[in-house]
């Protein structure tokens, strides 16, 4: 018996139909044949792998995936996000995460301080406050648990909040936080970027304005290469 028979008869050659980083729209065929595996935002039907979202094609080994260019923020465990307190419950706070689903911040995950039974929670965090929190759990029904007991996680006071496209967050942060560190250094502001696309900037009024302008500029030019260098020049020497 030949090797071909052992493989199950005549098998069609697998072929990749799209180039790396090519833009595809939903329903486009990415590859033919069983040698490729469908990754994120793709699906297999019979021999073909199809795109399930608008985005850029990435191939790593046998896996084909699509990095979407738009769309909602998907809450992930471990993400640090900025949220707004929308309600106070018996045991904690309800936080708007900027998605279709709100998160719950339990009292015991919010502070190390002892809280007496029946204490007024709005004295600690009030409705309308913004908080920097971490996602600790997401269920299949998109119930979100939040925590605020790690360094850097806190209730926000002062400064300003701005909203950007959550898909552009990695560019605002940069490689090894190079971009956000550059912004901090050049504007003298404290900057926190939430994975859900909310950014908190606090500093002098001039510094805040400068940082806000710079962040908007990065969002617009997120596709450019060498962005950190050009932002360095944009923000000037000081």
């Amino acid at each position: 018996m030949s090797a071909r028979h052992k493989l199950g008869g005549y098998r069609k050659m697998s072929e990749l139909l799209k180039k790396e980083r090519e833009i595809v729209i939903p329903g486009e065929i990415l590859a033919q044949g069983m040698d490729f595996l469908p990754g994120e935002n793709t699906y297999r039907e019979n021999d073909n792998i199809y795109a399930k979202a608008l985005g850029l094609v990435y191939v790593s080994g046998r896996v084909i995936k699509i990095t979407s260019l738009s769309g909602p923020y998907v809450p992930m465990v471990g993400d640090r996000i900025i949220g707004k307190v929308i309600d106070i419950t018996m045991t904690g706070w309800r936080i708007d995460t900027g998605t279709a689903y709100s998160g719950l911040l339990n009292v015991k995950d919010a502070t190390t301080r002892f809280i007496k039974k029946g204490e007024d929670l709005s004295k600690i965090i009030a409705i309308g406050d913004y908080v920097i929190v971490m996602i600790t759990q997401v269920t299949s029904q998109r119930l979100i648990d939040l925590a605020m007991r790690e360094p850097g996680l806190k209730k926000i006071t002062g400064g300003r909040i701005m909203k950007i496209n959550s898909h552009k967050v990695p560019r605002i942060i940069g490689k090894q936080a190079s971009m956000v560190n550059l912004l901090r250094e050049k504007t003298g502001c404290e900057i926190t970027v939430g994975q859900n696309g909310l950014v908190w900037v606090r500093g002098t009024p001039e510094g805040e304005l400068k940082a806000e302008g710079a962040i908007k500029r990065i969002e617009e030019r997120s596709h450019e290469s060498g962005l950190t260098e050009s932002m360095d020049a944009f923000l000037g020497g000081k």
Partner: protein, 236 residues
């Protein structure tokens, strides 16, 4: 008397000049503009977002909600009363049903994706333009979709099979039929099929066959609109 030459001198299988653009409404999560001849549609997509009233929430999947509206001045002189009408409600419903087979909202339980359509100018084929535009806007909004939906009307005017009827043809003084069709791109599954008027069985088969190549032309315009939005962003 046969209908041998079309009113606007198109070939029988020729569509009206089409034009499309993605991302025309910055405030929306996704948006699109689609024009076929004198019919223009603007679509804005919002969501997935929290669904109210709460009793409509489905814990298994997100809901798609379409809202179709013709603008008061859009028709041929008659003022269209703003707000919903029996006709607008029907078209909103068939739009949802035409788009749902390709849209996967299982990742967004209890949420809603809102699709708002406004037609500033109409000259027949509004539901087709609305569906074609909505498919672009949903893709632009990053909603998971298994395929694209393209829509166009086919039909018969006095015994001649034609594609993409204009209002003049729909109201031609003879036996006319107008069949709006929406199809998926890869599998050519029909997701919208309605009819106004009369047609013979043989002609219906021929017309639906013509719809395959006609929706393909719409698909090309949709694809170009989506790709050019993001490739401009890539080059800029």
């Amino acid at each position: 008397m046969t209908y041998s030459k079309r009113l606007d001198e198109r070939k029988n299988d020729e569509l009206r000049p089409m034009d499309a653009k993605a991302g025309v409404i910055p405030n929306a999560d996704g948006s699109a503009y689609f024009r076929a001849g004198k019919t223009t549609a603007y679509v804005a997509v919002y969501g997935p977002r929290e669904l109210f009233p709460k009793f409509k929430q489905d814990p298994k999947k997100g809901l798609l909600r379409c809202h179709y509206a013709m603008m008061p001045f859009s028709g041929s002189g008659e003022r269209i009363r703003p707000g919903t009408s029996r006709r607008a409600q029907e078209i909103s419903m068939v739009m949802e049903q035409a788009l749902l087979p390709v849209i996967d909202l299982s990742e967004f339980p209890n949420s809603v994706v809102d699709v708002f359509v406004q037609l500033p100018q109409t000259d027949a084929g509004t539901r087709c333009a609305a569906i074609s535009a909505a498919a672009i806007a949903l893709a632009d909004a990053g909603i998971p979709m298994k395929d694209m939906i393209s829509s166009v009307a086919v039909g018969q005017v006095d015994g001649t099979i034609v594609a993409d009827l204009s209002y003049g043809e729909e109201s031609y003084p003879a036996v006319v039929s107008d069949i709006p069709v929406a199809m998926t791109h890869n599998t050519k599954q029909i997701t919208l099929l309605q009819m106004d008027g009369e047609i013979s069985k043989e002609d219906l088969v021929k017309a639906l066959d013509a719809a395959k190549s006609a929706t393909e032309k719409v698909y090309d315009v949709q694809m170009k609109a989506l790709k050019s939005k993001f490739s401009v962003e890539n080059k800029k």
